[in-house]
């Protein structure tokens, strides 16, 4: 089952005169773990903001045949686009289960909201297992650690059954082992979905990216496989630094 692709063409975002994204095009397909990298302020987060309706943009961003730009945030989500944030945000007062249940809820009919929850959705159980949060079922999300919150966010995207996952620095603050676990999780997920990751951890990128798009000052600087991009002298200059500055483990 290969679904539709996410195709972004000539995306532009301007903030009172300042061009944050100036005509960016890229695409992402189910089955790949797509990376979006680039210097600080290159416009990566802004791209995600634009695609998810948080920021007004011109150009086009399509999921299959459907144009996303100009739609309201929650409508875009209902089309199957899910995202995480650079700083994790979950519902602190609700338990992990409740967080997930709400995420799973968008496909329910609204009347059913008025009924109480009975049992746990199979999709929630699966997501819990995938993210290793099964033990935290009744823990209020507010007391989870930073990394656990990030996993919870990913789990929420899973139960949400998002076709497109836009992840803004999902492994920031995780230890090496946790990064590996997360990367493997993303690879598994990507089999049936589009996964787009923004990251500055190059080691992580090298291990898990299928294709990479490099942004610089609001434009696409380079695009291709990890090796191609790494070899690009322009990318080295503005972003990576000479050679492989940080290849530690």
């Amino acid at each position: 089952m290969t679904g539709a692709s996410l195709v972004v063409t000539d995306l532009r975002v301007e903030f009172s005169g300042f061009v944050a994204v100036g005509g960016v095009s890229f695409d992402a397909h189910p089955g790949e773990v797509r990376f979006l990298i680039g210097p600080n302020g290159a416009g990566k987060t802004t791209c995600i903001d634009a695609v998810t309706g948080l920021t007004k943009a011109t150009g086009s961003a399509r999921l299959g045949e459907t144009e996303l730009l100009g739609k309201q945030v929650h409508k875009i989500v209902r089309l199957g686009i899910g995202r995480t944030f650079q700083t994790a945000s979950v519902f602190d007062e609700l338990t992990v289960l409740q967080n997930l249940d709400i995420a799973a809820g968008l496909h329910r009919r609204s009347v059913s909201l008025l009924r109480a929850r009975r049992g746990i959705d199979p999709s929630i159980e699966r997501a819990l297992e995938e993210t290793g949060l099964t033990g935290e079922l009744t823990t209020p999300a507010g007391v989870l650690s930073h990394g656990q919150k990030q996993w919870l966010e990913i789990a929420m995207l899973l139960v949400q059954d998002a076709k497109v996952l836009l992840l803004d620095e999902p492994v920031a603050g995780m230890s090496q082992d946790e990064r590996t676990a997360t990367g493997e999780l993303l690879q598994r997920i990507a089999a049936r979905r589009i996964v787009l990751v923004v990251e500055h951890d190059m080691d992580f990128m090298r291990r898990f990216a299928t294709r990479v798009t490099v942004l610089h000052q609001g434009r696409v600087l380079s695009q291709g496989t990890v090796a191609e991009v790494q070899a690009d002298p322009q990318v080295q200059e503005v972003y990576l630094g000479t050679a492989d500055a940080i290849t530690e483990g």
């Binding site: 929650h74 989500v77 700083t87 945000s89 007062e93 249940d101 709400i102 809820g105 909201l113 949400q160």
Partner: protein
């Protein structure tokens, strides 16, 4: 939220027995009537608990909806009393003018009942839609809603011929055909109010245990985040707001036959805040807290306000301070505190200040 929903249900049952069976037996007519009045406030309070406690909307202007119900009812009762004459107070200011047009439909009992239900739904619906879609929230919402209550109270005060003004509407003789002076009928009105309070509690109980209840809390805590789960938080809040408005209206409607008078003072700033006081005292997010708090504040006003009027104001003031300061979750959180069963909750948020978050608006 509640782990064992049937405990709460049992609680509602006990409450129902106390209100519907025990109270009429043990209380004098006067105190039963007063209890009826507290029930009206409690009905409004249950709604505030939903909107504020669970939904995070500090509704400081529930007087507006209380007024819609109360004045609908009062206009009907006034007309019922006046028969085919023009109500006496109108004659004073302009003897020749006819009954204002908006009074006419309230001759009909059916229309009146419909108005009590539909008016708040329409007004709260329109208002909530306008405000929530524009993402008005936090302090802005609180102040705006309070300002609306003040504006409505001043408007009623200043339209003396049309609404009875500051003096209000009073001197009702009949209640849908029943003679209001008859103690048996007054007891019947009391039972209606108490019964409706129970119904509202049941409704809110179902709300709280439903998925909607969880979604409402999620919206309260991170409205913008909810958007990214595919919900429009405006709609979630709207439902809670409309339901709370409806409850306020029902409370207001029953207030009229029970108390026998409605004036703008019952809907203005002070009255709206007093409704909040009961909710805060009892526990904004709990099921019984708002209702019990409202009844307690009403009782305090009647009894302490009698024996020690100056003192009562101090007590009320201190109540606000002490409860909010030390018991943000109201008196209903006391048992949990003592038994140490309090849920594990993050005490301090590590992430950027909430203080700013509540005031700061996100625009996209």
């Amino acid at each position: 939220m509640t782990k064992k929903p049937w405990i709460s249900l049992g609680g509602i049952g006990v409450f129902a027995v106390l209100l519907l069976a025990v109270a009429p037996l043990v209380l004098t007519d006067h105190w039963l009537n007063n209890l009826g009045k507290y029930c009206c406030w409690a009905i409004a309070a249950v709604g505030i608990g939903l909107a504020w406690g669970r939904g995070g909307m500090l509704v400081m202007g529930q007087g507006v909806f209380f007024a819609l119900g109360a004045y609908s009812m009062a206009m009907h009762l006034t007309l019922e009393t006046a028969g085919d004459r023009i109500p006496g107070f109108m004659v004073l200011y302009d003897p020749l003018a006819p009954l204002p047009v908006f009074w006419e439909p309230f001759r009909s009992a059916g229309f009146t009942l419909l108005a009590i239900v539909l008016l708040p739904v329409i007004v709260a619906g329109a208002l909530g839609y306008a405000l929530f879609k524009r993402r008005v929230k936090g302090a802005y919402f609180a102040i705006l809603s309070q300002a609306l209550a003040v504006a409505l109270a001043v408007l009623i005060s200043s339209t003396i011929r049309e609404t009875g003004g500051d003096t209000g509407l009073s001197d009702f003789k009949y209640f849908f055909g029943f003679v209001l002076n008859d103690p048996a009928n007054r007891q019947m009105v009391y039972l209606i109010a108490a019964g409706l309070l129970i119904v509202c509690l049941l409704a809110v109980w179902q709300f709280y245990r439903s998925r909607f209840g969880e979604l409402l809390i999620a919206t309260r805590d991170a409205e913008e985040r909810v958007r990214f789960l595919g919900y429009d938080p405006a709609n979630v809040k709207l439902v809670a707001f409309v339901v709370s408005a409806l409850m306020a209206s029902i409370g207001g409607a029953l207030f009229v036959p029970i108390v026998g008078i409605i004036t703008p003072a019952e809907i203005g700033a002070a009255a709206s805040i007093l409704m909040i006081a009961g909710v805060a005292l009892g526990g904004r997010a709990s099921l019984f807290g708002p209702a019990l708090g409202a009844i307690a504040v009403g009782w305090g006003q009647s009894s302490l306000g009698s024996t020690w009027p100056d003192g009562w104001t101090y007590i009320l003031g201190l109540l606000f301070i002490v409860v909010i300061l030390f018991l943000p979750n109201g008196l209903s959180s006391l048992p949990a505190r003592f038994t140490g069963r309090a849920r594990r909750t993050p005490v301090e948020q590590p992430t950027p200040a909430i203080a700013a978050a509540e005031l700061e608006e996100v625009r996209s």
